[in-house]
């Protein structure tokens, strides 16, 4: 088993962090995992994305031209990555940040109003966790509760206070299931 | 009637840093939270055009050369002012 997941959005939307949560969870389950960001000269603004590869085996390339799944947190990410997803793969879209539906019909598409949901649970910045929840809720890359445990085990002390909210976000996201 | 002025904010350049807003001596400027520029910023705009003296301070402090300052009365607004 090997899965390649790209999480992409604006800087500040927490795409890199979402990828790390996924990577931690995979690591804790004994999987091979890589997390690699795109890094650019402009430290701020612009896009920020990362690729997480999860595998039962030693991982070769830490990037993928045809990823298994993509979380697109804004329109440019949707435009860029939708065409690249492996047939049969997953596309999770932050519906609140795009103005069009997905066009591919050979993949699983999940449109999630992540900003709204995050606002409902009290913090718009948790949209990344909502989408991650949707991804895992559909793909079952890891064991039940793995992401939640990763949040609990790997959140830095000063951020512990956000754990509950983030777990809630994961759960709300997981409720979105592909048709 | 004191010399009047007005400014135009070029939204291509404005990055919403608020420097002009802070420094305008007459509080004529504000950030327009209702709009986003192409670059994704809420641009500065003239909230109180009537208060602008055309002093140019906003332009002097603007880090993005986004502001053009005119002295005189804004074409178009003159009439409105007269009507008012």
């Amino acid at each position: 088993m090997q899965a390649e997941i790209i999480i992409s959005g604006f800087g500040g939307q927490g795409t890199l962090y979402a990828g790390q949560v996924l990577a931690y969870a995979a690591m804790d389950e004994g999987k091979h995992v890589t997390w690699i960001p795109s890094y650019g000269p402009e430290m701020r603004g612009g896009t920020a994305n990362c690729t997480v590869v999860i595998s039962d085996d030693e991982i070769g390339a830490p990037t993928a031209l045809h990823p298994t799944a993509v979380i697109a947190m804004n329109l440019p990410s949707l435009d860029k990555y939708e065409p690249m997803i492996k047939p049969g793969g997953y596309l999770v879209v932050n519906e609140d940040m795009v103005n069009r539906p997905a066009v591919r019909d050979d993949i699983h598409v999940l449109m999630v109003p992540a900003n709204k949901i995050a606002q409902e649970i009290g913090n718009e910045r948790a949209a990344n966790m909502v989408l991650l929840g949707t991804l895992e809720g559909n793909m079952h890359l890891l064991k039940e509760g793995a992401l939640e445990r990763a949040l609990e085990d790997h959140t830095a002390a000063r951020l512990k206070k956000f754990i509950t909210m983030n777990i809630e976000a994961l759960h709300r996201g997981a409720e979105y299931l592909a048709a | 009637m004191p010399p009047k002025g007005w400014v135009e904010v070029n939204e291509l350049y404005c990055k919403a840093c608020e420097t002009c807003v802070t420094d305008c001596p007459t509080q004529a400027l504000a950030i327009d939270l209702s709009r986003l520029t192409a670059k994704g910023y809420h641009p500065a705009f003239m909230l109180h055009p009537e208060d602008c003296t055309g002093c140019g301070i906003c332009a002097v402090v603007c880090p993005d050369a986004a502001i053009t300052v005119y002295r005189g009365v804004r074409p178009g607004t003159q009439k409105e002012a007269e009507v008012a």
Binding site: - | E18, C62, Y70
Partner: protein
């Protein structure tokens, strides 16, 4: 008052291209750029100028100025400017450098250029950190100031003391004009512009090396908004780096600046 009385008090300088800069919102690199463009426009030097960009946040400066430009290796802008100026002595040549670039990596080159009395102008942006690489300690970082490579605050015992560059260069006989100004408020900016004008005039009249150090904010790496950054500059930087003229050679003090 009629519509024909409308006067443009301020407009974007001709020395700028129409590209938007990559600088962070509020960053006074932009102000420094604008003042240079205004001065060169006023002096009628836009067509006669060659700029030298540094490695630092201003690495793309050449995209924003509407005249010939070259891009130096980190710290070496004064050497590169020397090569240009010696080859084309009638051109106006200036370097634009950050504090990491000029006062750390390129200290050897700037001192040598100043000592040589190289007929170039240096615009030096002191923002107390390495902006481009993410806010590491610079030679200008204040004692106790936290940066990404002085996480507990600059400890002068192990990390040394800030360098006051204007004061340092002012000791050199080849330096004709060395001044420090600030960009954090409107008065500072106006005085900065005058200093920049003087510096370029010094070059035009062949009086020697000229440099203007500009205190500048870095909201992003300082972790403050624009307003707080400007206040922080006033409160912390100004006392350590007082604005003023540190070197005005006799010839410069007798210099007449024409026009405008």
């Amino acid at each position: 008052m009629t519509e024909t009385d409308v006067k443009v008090v301020y407009k974007r300088p001709l020395g700028f291209t129409d590209r938007t800069t990559h600088y962070c919102p509020g960053c006074t690199h932009g102000v420094a750029h604008r003042l240079i463009a205004e001065v060169l426009e006023e002096m009628g030097e836009l067509k006669n100028t060659i700029g030298v960009a540094p490695v630092g946040c201003a690495v793309f400066a050449y995209n924003y100025f509407n005249f010939d430009f070259v891009e130096a290796a980190h710290g070496r802008a004064p050497a590169m400017a020397t090569g240009i100026k010696r080859t084309l002595p009638t051109k106006t040549v200036f370097t634009y450098q950050g504090d990491g670039d000029l006062a750390s990596m390129g200290m050897g080159e700037i001192i040598a250029a100043a000592a040589r009395g190289e007929q170039i102008t240096v615009i030096f942006i002191n923002n107390t950190n390495y902006g481009m690489t993410g806010g590491q300690m610079a030679p200008t970082t204040l004692p106790g100031q936290k940066t990404s490579s002085s996480p507990l605050g600059r400890d002068v015992e192990t990390q040394g003391y800030p360098i006051r560059t204007a004061e340092l260069l002012a000791t050199l006989d080849g330096a004709a004009y060395v001044a420090r100004r600030t960009l954090h408020d409107v008065r500072g900016i106006r005085l900065a512009k005058r200093a920049i004008r003087t510096a370029f005039e010094v070059q035009k009249q062949g009086l020697g090396f000229s440099m203007v150090e500009l205190l500048s904010i870095c909201p992003t790496n300082w972790g403050m908004n624009t307003e707080n950054s400007r206040n922080w500059l006033a409160e912390h930087m100004l006392p350590y780096y007082p604005v003023g003229d540190y070197k005005v050679s006799t010839a410069v003090s007798e210099m007449k600046i024409g026009g405008n």
